[in-house]
């Protein structure tokens, strides 16, 4: 009984004192550091994405300096483990409320970006998506901008290339989540629309997939080509099974989006990868002075790593933030967002634009083939589709 009285009294006292903590008044922006909350999967199954993006972000600050528009850029890195959207959301809330960041950035996977979107809307802060690639992400908040790519954007070109090559039947194999379904739908629509046939559509689980049985089914169906999309980091496992099941010997050509021949893992895939034709927005072998400097700097700063398409999303995300800060003289919130819209520059991947209307990326998409140069495997670009937009869902 005594316990109850104590508690009730205590609660009463507590309730009486229940006053919301005061909101910090917005101070003058100029001169204070501009903080960027970078939320990435640094551990767990998608850690490679996080490491690539973070490396590019750090490289950007080292090569281009840390001050833009009179404000020093400060990066607050947070790990959301890649599989827990409620953690992503909480981290975003904390970065906004406690750390008072000027922008949120990162976002390795689609559900993580979805979970954080309402925070950006409510806080009225730009949210720069550097990795996640489902079409619909930019529609989740008017504050979202994307510097990575969308799956439909890089899928449509390979379907059309296959048609030009007179491939008549193609099976599809995609990871069973939104980007994979995007890729499957767009490939099928484009390919069958151009007269091709898709005899077999396979979906592999996102977590702990075993590709062997799927590829065996492809071998049994004997299509002329196999279109593959798997998340960054899974390419090596697919490639190994592709070789072991003897699909190349059976006359099946490997095509896909560039995710499956991820530059960072390509060398470890070895000979089975040779000749794979993919379409993507970035290859570490892209021939331009901007890219040479980028790849050189990246490899020097991160021995044992090669920059992949995830890293370039991080690099351009920083470019977007830096340019907007410069243009607004250290502006914040909606002013910063407005300065980000419609911006164009030459990225290591080639010329890109952040569309002013959709806030999504417009970029060149390349058709590449895996070839050996100086004892290493590279995705060598041989065709280009200029200024591709997201073809939409």
């Amino acid at each position: 009984m005594q316990a109850r009285v104590t508690r009730r009294a205590a609660l009463g006292a507590g309730a009486a004192a229940l006053i919301a903590p005061a909101l910090a008044a917005p101070a003058l922006a100029q001169g204070r550091p501009a903080r960027i909350g970078l939320i990435l999967p640094m551990t767990g199954p998608f850690a490679s994405t996080g490491r690539q993006v973070e490396a590019a972000v750090r490289l950007y600050l080292r090569q281009r300096g840390e001050s833009f528009g009179g404000r020093r850029l400060e990066i607050l890195l947070r790990d959301d483990t890649g599989t827990a959207p409620e953690v992503t959301r909480r981290l975003a809330q904390e970065l906004v409320v406690r750390d008072k960041v000027q922008a949120l950035a990162g976002f390795g996977l689609t559900p993580l970006a979805f979970a954080a979107a309402p925070v950006a809307t409510e806080a009225k802060l730009p949210m720069v998506v550097m990795a996640a690639a489902t079409s619909a992400i930019v529609q989740r908040s008017p504050f979202i901008l994307r510097t990575s790519f969308t799956l439909p954007q890089v899928t449509a070109p390979i379907a059309e290339w296959a048609l030009r090559e007179r491939v008549q039947t193609a099976a599809t194999l995609v990871a069973d989540y939104a980007p994979g379904l995007d890729a499957e739908r767009v490939f099928k629509a484009r390919f069958t629309g151009g007269g091709g046939r898709v005899p077999l559509e396979l979906r592999t689980p996102l977590r702990n997939p075993d590709y062997a049985p799927f590829l065996q089914r492809v071998r049994d169906a004997k299509p002329e080509a196999l279109f593959i999309f798997v998340p960054s980091g899974e390419g090596a496992a697919v490639m190994k099974q592709f070789a072991e099941r003897g699909l190349a010997e059976a006359g099946v050509r490997l095509i896909g989006t560039g995710d499956v021949v991820d530059d960072d893992l390509l060398n470890d895939m070895g000979r089975p990868a040779l000749g794979a034709v993919t379409s993507h927005h970035y290859s570490a072998a892209h021939d331009s002075p901007e890219n040479k400097a980028y790849v050189q700097g990246f490899i020097a700063a991160n021995p044992g790593m090669r920059p992949n398409f995830m890293s370039v999303g991080g690099w351009d995300g920083m470019q977007l933030i830096a340019e907007a800060l410069q243009a607004t003289g250290g502006g914040e919130g909606e002013a910063l967002l407005a300065a980000m819209k419609g911006r164009s520059w030459t990225s290591p991947r080639g010329p890109i634009t952040i569309d002013a209307e959709t806030r999504d990326i417009v970029q060149d998409v390349y058709i590449r083939r895996v070839e050996e140069r100086d004892g290493q495997l590279w995705n060598i670009e041989f065709d280009r589709l200029p200024a591709m937009r997201d073809p939409g869902t």
Binding site: T83, R90, Q93, R98, A123
Partner: protein, 309 residues
Amino acid sequence: MRPALEAGFWLLALSGFWLMPEQLPLLGQAAIAALFVLSLDLLVGYAGVLTLGHAAFFGLGAYGAGLLAQQGWGEPLSGLLAAALLAGLLGLLTAPLVLRGGDLPALMVTLGLSLMLGEAANKLPGLTGGADGLLGVEIWPVLGLFRFDLHGRTAFLYALAVLFLLFLLARRITASPFGLALRGIRGNARRMPALGTPVRRRLVAAYALSAAYAGIAGALLAQTTQFVSLDALSFQRSAEGLLMLVLGGLGALYGAMLGAIVFTLAHHLLSEMSPLFWQFWIGLALVGLALAGRGGLLGLGAALLGRRA
């Protein structure tokens, strides 16, 4: 536990509102974790039924409350109730399967059921959003007064209040003849029938109760984050729940809550200090604690207090 300590515990929890005003989303999630571990404690600690699949109920509650809100009924309290009923019903239905064999079969069955539910949610993107998660969850203000805000104030107080009320209920239950019977069953299930206890019925009831608690915890998470993902049903959640329970102290309500809160805060602190290697430090701390104290944090605390007294 001594009354002063008890009051201290809840006052400390509430004081987080003023002491850490910028960390309220974290504290809110700690309170939700505490409720989840409390539900595990009712089952594992009191009734002695082992489970590796408690996330099934957590996830069902989360999806239940999330879907209800998505379909246009965003009233939070009735959402909690619906989640509790849904999860409790699943508990009632699956209890006979789980309680058929001994400990190891129970582990297998619970794990299997939660994996099945997880895969079902993954394969029903039309309903659950699949791997993208459930979008468009809009929750109305609590009691029509308190809107869920960006600072997480409402979310924290709401979660803490629900935790407090359900804790009081759990304390009542564990102190009742029903709770006593559960402890007896854990001690020696063969002899309990001799005392006139219907062992099976008591265990089924405990299982359903624990499931309902977990469902409410899941609903709280769905409502406070306004998002549900497959992660709510994951094996990781079940395993982490057990970890927190053992960390805090099995078979004691305060131990369960303490374990959840300490684990959540340590997890957060370490991952912020070292985004790349925090899992190593968590592991080290857990091994250290397991060696230092029997009966988890609560056991350690009791030992220290006892020595002083």
